[in-house]
Symmetry: C2
Subunit: 260 residues, 2 copies
Amino acid sequence: MSLNFSFIGAGNLAFHLAKALNSKGFQIKQIYNRTESRAKELAEFTGSEYTSKLPEIDKSGDIYIVAVKDSAIGEVLSQIDFQDKLVVHCSGSQSISVLKKYTKNFGVIYPLQTFSKKREVNFNNIPVYIEANSPENLEILRKIAGVISEKVSTADSEQRLLLHISAVFACNFVNHLYSIAGELLKTKNISFDVLKPLILETALKVQELQPFEAQTGPAVRFDKNIIDKHLEKLADIQEYRQLYELVSKSIFEHHKKLKG
Amino acid sequence: MSLNFSFIGAGNLAFHLAKALNSKGFQIKQIYNRTESRAKELAEFTGSEYTSKLPEIDKSGDIYIVAVKDSAIGEVLSQIDFQDKLVVHCSGSQSISVLKKYTKNFGVIYPLQTFSKKREVNFNNIPVYIEANSPENLEILRKIAGVISEKVSTADSEQRLLLHISAVFACNFVNHLYSIAGELLKTKNISFDVLKPLILETALKVQELQPFEAQTGPAVRFDKNIIDKHLEKLADIQEYRQLYELVSKSIFEHHKKLKG
């Protein structure tokens, strides 16, 4: 395929997706970003033009990848004349239909992964979900996604929303628990580093076992003695205490229900 | 050291600790467990005697490792005459002082890790925290722990309690979030498997970055549009909705505070 891509937005996802496409030989024609330095930075990686001005967006692109903050999609797209080119967004929680008023050809490419600029990722084993307004466009997206990932599936907007919510629990909320754990250790001058083997093993376990089988700790044993001791210790930090109580109760109820 | 060990309790922790000690040449003399089959199973790995009867606990042991459920420690220990041998518990949340009335020589070995019977673990890089009633006993524990782990530190009972609470957040609660994510996907007949690369990357990220830097997702961007959409979708599952709201708010507040 000699299709070329233009990126609207140069955030973390755009960064990794553009680089992945480029590394497989796709031309990245232009990068638009509101902050020019960021557009330039990515453009240097992919050998692309860049701009921070919407009117300067190149009209000769084949496929436009919209990777801006969800709340900005409408505002940005309404200022671009796509001339019915294929426009693709990458958002988990936006319906495909948000693109309808800007072009006749549209779709979604949603990679289920967390992207930070500082971390290289291997796109190859990232599940990528696609959706398109027509079978023809779906085939185009399937081919493109198939070049960067071995795990391409279709998902409608409703399934993608659930995928995104699940990812929020399994990644964003998980990362926040890492944060809280680190904050708690800091009160005793203990480094976050000591948690690293535990964090890694917890994630590795569920690569093999179901989370239900992998669960350990006081809540699943309903060790009230320990739970009460922990709640007492957290008494000063209302937010953490509330979270501790809610999650412990949830673990207990969950296991009671599933064990029958 | 030609010290031998007897284990009181043959749960997941005992299983891995006894095997780790045994693999480094320590003799595991006897395994006690309330359920005999479990004692037998571990004893076969370590070439030990086993029993399910407290009066049959061998009196000639050098060190007794108490690895029973926290709430059972008192009840079990009160039935054994330790003759002032070195008795060690492995609990994060029990003070060292719970052992005082059963022997003159006591201590704690607390490995900061999650243990499941089905998973092999490499003890070598697990942080192990020790505490003892005397400098002499501390030295004995330091030597023993040093044989199985490269990361041995002292921690008093108060520090160990915080280590345990942190581990509950970073492991047990994290694993429960994996569970919830899987449950949500099940409602759309999507396999838990699709989350595995995301879960692993989330854990790998904080091996290098601080959790604060690694945070992504709608809450840290305060993308109210998406958060509201997710809450609406979770409206039927009150428990998950409440958790979503609480953690999102916590992420937002946390980042607002730290960014200043």
